[in-house]
Amino acid sequence: MASEEEKIDIENDLEELEGIVEELEGEELELERSIELFEEGIDLAEEIQDGLSTAEVRLKRVIEESGLDLKVEDFDL
């Protein structure tokens, strides 16, 4: 019943972005490779930004019915 909406793994993206920066700052690279890394990095940054711009927290309510059936419904405060 987990949400089908696409999830952005911010933690993972951040780690990858850090890895890229480290690689770029590391040893001498061909300019073409540097630009490639830059591009990848920007993609990740953009993805993280997208993830953070989610408008609001999704809120659900877990309902247990007698037969141990799990029901999750939207919940408004």
Binding site: S3, V21, D50, R61, F75
Partner: protein, 420 residues
């Protein structure tokens, strides 16, 4: 023998052989005796004759039907009161027995006051705390770390209370890419403890189905009795057994419950639980920002290095033609990294195009590469780049720069293309 002698002066004489106390001595010793004998005690009674001094000290009488004792609660202790003292209220007072020496009155120095019924609960609380502590349920080493970027948060609380609102609105202010799953339970009364414990266990069963990363058990402030479900053994054991890390945020700042001790993280209030459970958006944005800056700086450095190479090339071959393209490019680029995060994702659509363009221009601007391919540059005898045959005279000496060197030549004939 002296005594007999003294007897001559009459029976009512002072018994000098027996110890004679001064009043102050007596009061002092009585005080020591009471303080030592009773230590810290709980006394139950009804408040009467309450009087609060201008300094904030509370003077009252604690009484039952046919017996009473003076009590005082000094301002410092009174500040920690979580109930209102008032005449007629039945309370349990924790304090020590002492003597007010100046008046020779013995009295209770109150340090804590609870409503009747709470004394018993307090006792049970202390006992359970001791027992669970001994079993190791509060050990630091059993505490789990909270996930830094949770995606799904289980919130075990009343669906109608203020706590759930406080938690969710606090999360929303900080970080929105999460789903909150509310497990509705009662948070006070007899059934509450069992429901909370069941919800903790159920949330763990649903861990993978709902993708849960962390749990919050919470309720707002209340009396010790209101908070009691969070002091029940079943709840403590359910929290201890939870594979999901548990944040306990129960009551107000000053309230501690058993679930606070056994949870992986204790926070003082529901709002604080919301703060604890998610990172702050701005923190991440700043981190991303600084990473993007580092990316950009590195690329800028490389582009500048490339320009230095070009400059060297240019001067070694006597180029006068200013190769401004690369400088322009760096400038183009300069704005790019700052703009990226500042302007949000819409304008980022153009980013790839911009970069491709950049790369293309870079390779075009690289004269070495062009010369390698067989292109060359020809200069007039006053070192101007020649673009138009009309610019040279017959018999003029020219210089042509090729990949591997220079050719000097003399013009014998020129032909201008048509259509210009």
């Amino acid at each position: 023998m002296d005594k007999e002698g003294l007897g001559l002066f009459g029976d009512d004489s002072k018994p000098e052989e027996e110890e004679v106390y001064s009043v102050s001595q007596l009061n002092k010793e009585a005080r020591h005796l009471l303080e030592k004998e009773f230590g810290s005690i709980w006394v139950e009674g009804e408040v009467s004759n309450l009087h609060v001094s201008s300094a904030g000290h509370n003077y009252f009488t604690l009484k039952e039907e046919d017996s009473e004792i003076d009590a005082v609660m000094f301002a410092g202790d009174a500040a920690g009161l979580d109930i209102e003292l008032e005449d007629g209220k039945s309370v349990v007072v924790k304090g020590s027995l002492t003597v007010y020496e100046r008046r020779g009155r013995y009295q209770l120095r109150a340090r804590e006051v609870r409503e009747v019924g709470e004394g018993e609960l307090q006792k049970r609380f202390e006992e359970l705390k001791k027992k669970l502590k001994k079993e190791g349920l509060f050990e630091e080493s059993t505490k789990q770390k909270l996930p830094p970027f949770p995606e799904s948060i289980g919130i075990i609380t009343s669906p109608t209370g203020a706590a759930v609102r406080d938690i969710v609105s606090t999360i929303e202010e900080r970080y929105t890419p999460v789903t909150g799953y509310v497990f509705p339970v009662k948070v006070q009364g007899e059934e509450a403890g069992g429901q909370i414990a069941r919800a903790v266990r159920r949330a763990n069963e649903l861990k993978s189905e709902l993708g849960l990363d962390v749990l919050i058990v919470s309720r707002g402030g209340g009396s010790l009795e209101d908070l009691w479900p969070f002091n029940e053994e079943e709840v403590a054991r359910a929290i201890f057994g939870s594979e999901l890390p548990v944040i306990s945020g129960v009551g107000h700042e000053v309230d501690f419950t058993i679930s606070d001790f056994v949870a992986d993280v204790r926070v003082p209030t529901p709002t604080a639980a919301g703060k604890k459970v998610v990172p702050e958006r701005a923190e991440i944005t700043n981190r991303v920002d600084s990473l993007v800056k580092r990316l950009g700086n590195r690329l800028k450095t490389e582009l500048r290095e490339r320009q230095v190479e070009l400059d060297r090339f240019r001067s070694s071959f006597g180029f006068r033609h200013p190769l401004r393209k690369l400088e322009d490019m760096i400038q183009d680029y300069d704005g790019l990294s700052e703009k990226l995060l500042a302007t949000g994702s819409k304008t980022l659509g153009n980013r790839s195009d911009k970069l491709e363009n950049l790369i293309e221009r870079l390779s075009l601007a690289n004269p070495t590469r062009l010369l390698q391919k067989g292109y060359s540059v020809t200069y007039s005898d006053d070192d101007q780049v020649i673009r138009d045959p009309g610019d040279v005279r017959t018999d003029e000496s020219l210089k042509t720069v090729l990949y591997k060197g220079i050719i000097r030549s003399v013009v014998t004939e020129t032909e201008v293309e048509d259509g210009e």
